[in-house]
């Protein structure tokens, strides 16, 4: 860890900048920082937003002045140690039906990268990813890092309606859309997993710091698990 920086983010928030680059090795430090903030701020804590290299700490100004909140963070950072438990946490599996009807950019990747369909699937599902951040939408996990052989920019024109469960890739990041929404990532397939459910105890299937493996499944298994086989193209037509 380099020297951390504390940046003001408003009357009730500080941003702790721990790192400069995206790296899986950042995660145990960020997880430890989250835990320590929960302990130190207690009731005065409103929200924590961990991301690749930073943690946004939002506190109650009714209970803490800006300078007192900053002092708490300085104290925490003075003896912060990485949370090794978080770095060996559970690995979650996301079953994916990789198919051009639900993942039209499989064709783009074959064409642009000179790979066969099977090679694309093998490379995407052959890596254990780390959840660096949740954002964009509830339960949308930013995962990395994708093999450089699949590194592909976002679509020039985002789709109006990306179907729920779409497994996607942008640059060297991958994710799955929890619900139908606009989006510009390259779609490779679809998962039957419900990624966000406010009625569930932990609500989000993915949590920051998780390790994730995508597992290729066939159409039959996808349908048996409750997956919706409506092609991406058909979902677009409903919109217009």
């Amino acid at each position: 860890m380099q020297d951390p920086r504390l940046e003001n983010a408003g009357i009730d928030a500080w941003l702790v900048r721990l790192f400069e680059r995206i790296d899986e090795a950042n995660m145990p430090w960020l997880m430890a920082l989250c835990d320590r903030c929960e302990q130190a701020f207690g009731e005065a804590l409103v929200d924590l937003v961990p991301s690749y290299t930073t943690l946004l700490v939002h506190y109650r100004p009714q209970q803490l002045t800006a300078s007192r909140a900053r002092a708490l963070l300085v104290d925490i950072l003075a003896d912060l140690a990485p949370d090794e438990a978080a770095s060996t946490g559970e690995t979650k599996e996301i079953p994916v039906w990789y198919d051009a009807s639900v993942g039209p950019e499989l064709v783009r990747l074959e064409y642009e990268k000179g790979l066969t369909r099977d090679e694309v699937i093998e490379i995407h599902s052959g890596h254990v990813y780390r959840v660096f951040a949740l954002g964009f939408a509830p339960g949308f996990g930013f995962m990395g890092s994708v093999d450089p052989r699949l590194d592909t920019p976002r679509l020039a024109t985002p789709r109006q309606r990306v179907p729920a469960g779409s497994v996607a890739l942008a640059g060297r990041q991958t994710s799955a859309y929890p619900k139908v929404s606009p989006g510009g990532w390259n779609l490779l397939g679809r998962t039957p997993v419900t990624l966000f459910d406010p009625a569930r105890e932990r609500m989000s299937f993915l949590q920051v710091g998780d390790r994730v493996r995508f597992v290729a499944i066939g159409r039959e298994a996808f349908e048996r698990l409750g997956g919706d086989t409506t092609p991406v193209a058909a979902v677009q037509k409903v919109q217009s």
Partner: protein, 321 residues
């Protein structure tokens, strides 16, 4: 719900956008869930205060007017914020006051005269099932609101009132004149300079604070775009990180966007700084084409101003109990 609500307001006509908002959804932002809540915290807090409600009780945020509500029983209400040409049974009703809507009578919102968003509080607060601890309606996420599914009010809906809604009063019947805001005036928005301010060119930093910015038509609960001179930053984009309410981000086109209640939880554009809560409230009431100025403010000063402004609401006795 086990007990039948005592009363309700019936939606005769929905208008462009009316949503239930309490103080916001907190504690779940690390899952990507945004905070929601009233775009104008100042008018929201006064509307509840006039009725002696808990300060964070759910109110209706009425955007641009067009809404018609009918009371199913005599109902004590308070209206604050924008002047949307409201009428009570046909008689003009100005904002910043409490009033009774008699049974069977209509409260009608017309078109905006001043401001954009009106706040309608009911004695005891509106009632619905909270989602993730809040009633705040976030349409983009499909969370909260009167049905819990993030849908705004629709014609034919009934919105339930928490309890007997005719007796309660707050400490004031009207908001004191010095606390009412004329939203037609040019606004000055206090901004706490942020960490990336040094990455903007000197000229851009000067321009940021010496320009009459024009509020763009691209303005909603997620954010408000400001049009003016191009601000140049040597950082084109950054690794995405948590974004606070009021963050003023500057994408590569150099036109700043103030991020409001329904913003995405993380983002990767450099930020000039963060608007204060009062500045967010004020900006949320600006109509497209209105002029705003930015004024730098120190964080300690801004926090003291905020406490002075809002402390009265947290300590107000719930006299309607």
């Amino acid at each position: 719900m086990t007990s039948r609500p005592l009363g309700a307001l019936r939606v005769e006509k929905a208008g462009p956008l009316a949503t239930l908002q309490d103080s916001g959804r907190f504690g779940v932002r690390r899952l990507g869930v945004t905070q929601g809540g009233p775009a104008d915290l100042h008018a929201f807090a006064w509307a509840n205060d006039l009725l002696g409600n808990a300060w964070q009780a759910a109110v209706l945020e009425v955007t641009l007017g067009g809404l018609i509500l009918v009371a199913e029983q005599d109902t004590r209400l308070a209206l604050c914020g924008a002047d949307l040409s409201a009428t009570l049974d046909g008689t003009p009703l100005s904002p910043w006051q409490a009033f009774t809507l008699p049974k069977g009578k209509a409260l009608t919102f017309g078109t905006p005269v001043a401001g954009v968003r009106a706040y309608l509080a009911v004695s005891g607060g509106f009632n619905a099932e909270p989602v993730l601890g809040s009633l705040s309606c976030v349409t983009r996420e499909g969370l909260g609101g009167h049905h819990g599914d993030g849908k705004p009010l629709a014609t034919g809906d009934r919105i339930a009132v928490a309890r007997e809604a005719t007796s309660a009063t707050g400490s004031h019947r009207e908001v004191p004149p010095e606390e009412r805001i004329d939203y037609r005036q040019p606004a000055t928005l206090a901004l706490m300079p942020g960490a990336q301010i040094a990455d903007f060119s000197g000229e851009s930093t000067f321009r940021a604070f010496h320009t009459d910015w024009t509020v763009d038509t691209r303005a909603d609960r997620m954010g408000v775009r400001l049009a003016g001179p191009r601000l140049d930053c040597r950082l084109e984009s950054m690794i995405s990180e948590g974004i606070a309410l009021g963050a003023l981000q500057v994408p590569p086109d150099g036109q700043p966007i103030a991020l409001l209640n329904d913003r995405q939880t993380i983002g990767g554009y450099p930020r000039l700084g963060t608007l204060t809560p009062m500045a967010c409230s004020r900006l949320a009431q600006c109509q497209p084409g209105q002029q705003v100025r930015l004024r730098p403010v120190d964080v300690n000063r801004a926090q003291a101003d905020y406490l002075r402004q809002f402390r009265r609401f947290w300590t107000a006795p719930a006299s309607g109990q």
